[in-house]
Amino acid sequence: MERSRSSWVIYLSLGCALLFMLIPFPLEWRIFRPDIATLTLFYWVLALPQRVGVTTAFVLGLGQDLIEGSPLGLSSLGLMVSVLVLLSNYQRIRQFDGVQQSLMMLVLLMLASGAEQWLRNGLGMPGLPWLGLVGLFCSTFCWLVVREILRLLRRYYEVT
């Protein structure tokens, strides 16, 4: 009962993060959009590794694909791989300070988008331009903000 009472916070925050993808950006500025949804996922995996894991990553990836209009499963695989890495190292990453954690997030984001690029190549879809890496850095800078907001939420609603 306790479990189901607070889990809505997790799913609602992931849903809101997905909505961030829908905010219109000018065509040439889209590369700067930070990937809030992925960061939110990483936060919940880091905070509650026993509850949020690979399955959530899979579902979130599907959501991203539906919004982007790309073939279903394209973003899922990368997210799942990076969540696996996060799950096996979460205790260490929790001890990191802000900068170190941000850098770790950059590595994880690169892993996820690297896997996506690899899939895109396999499917014959156009890959991200090199400038697309800028978006990953934008996301990295957002990590601390996302972390603080979600931490407040988690403490307020006592999600465990």
Partner: protein
């Protein structure tokens, strides 16, 4: 296990009807949610517009009326030309005449994927918009519909790096394939012999080959022709006629094939 599902869905089930149906539903969902998110912005814009002064509006009306008159005059000529053309085609016993009907639509969202040039428009199957129909801007061709939901559709722009279309140089009739470059104001023509008759400033129009785009719609203007020594092919760059990243209003071309007598 889930990874397997991903790979399966990506490589083998991409065109599975169920998955496509889910994606079609998602288009409508995306469009609706974007509308909800943007509602405050639009309300604000409407308020600002309502506060436009009366004289400004009167001027605008006057300007539009004049523009309308000019356009009407031009379309009169067009009607005459069309019927003349139809007569000639009938004389030549050309198989079928194609009547183009336009559906006005609005771009309501842009796909967040930065590697693609994909937009969502506010007309769908219920309005007669179907996969493969060309999308026009005010001045020229913009793209084509790739997937249509019930009330909204997704369209790919001609500059998307996975898109290519058959074109023709208007001046010389030279045929070529214009590929999207992934940059919003650039199209590329790669495999054109270095001695081809193509110059900077040439207008590229759809050639109608391939059967997807009807012929004669302006696509792009050539901005650069690079012929390097020792290369067999010239590299031609062109700029799309319609401003793909500006403006919200588009037209979707619906083709109805009629017999010569009816037209």
């Amino acid at each position: 296990m889930l990874a397997l599902i991903c790979l399966l869905s990506l490589f083998f089930l991409r065109d599975h009807p169920r998955l496509v149906a889910v994606q079609q539903g998602a288009i409508d969902g995306v469009a609706f949610t974007t509308g909800v998110i943007l509602a405050p912005v639009e309300a604000w814009e409407r308020m600002v517009a309502a506060m436009d002064s009366r004289t400004d509006l009167q001027e605008e009306v006057l300007r539009l009326q004049q523009e309308n008159r000019v356009l009407k005059g031009q379309s009169q000529r067009l009607a005459a030309l069309l019927s003349e053309n139809a007569r000639y085609k009938a004389l030549l016993r050309s198989a079928q005449l194609i009547d183009d009907e336009l559906i006005a639509a609005q771009i309501i969202a842009v796909s967040p994927d930065p590697s693609r040039h994909i937009v969502v428009i506010d007309k769908g199957v219920l309005d007669g918009v179907k996969e493969g129909q060309p999308m026009l801007g005010e001045e020229g061709l913009m793209g084509q519909i790739i997937l249509s939901g019930e009330r909204n559709s997704r369209a790919v722009l001609i500059t998307d790096s996975a898109h290519a279309l058959p074109v023709q140089v208007n001046r010389s009739g030279l045929r070529a394939i214009a590929e999207g470059s992934g940059v919003i104001d650039r199209l590329l023509i790669r495999h054109l012999p270095a001695k081809s008759d193509i110059r900077v400033g040439d207008l590229l129009v759809t050639s109608g080959l391939g059967g997807r785009f009807p012929n004669g719609y302006p696509v792009a203007r050539v901005t650069e022709v690079v012929i390097s020594d020792g290369e067999a092919f010239a590299l031609v760059t062109a700029e799309p006629i319609s401003a793909l990243d500006r403006g919200r209003y588009v037209l979707v071309l619906q083709r109805t094939v009629g017999s010569g007598a009816e037209s």
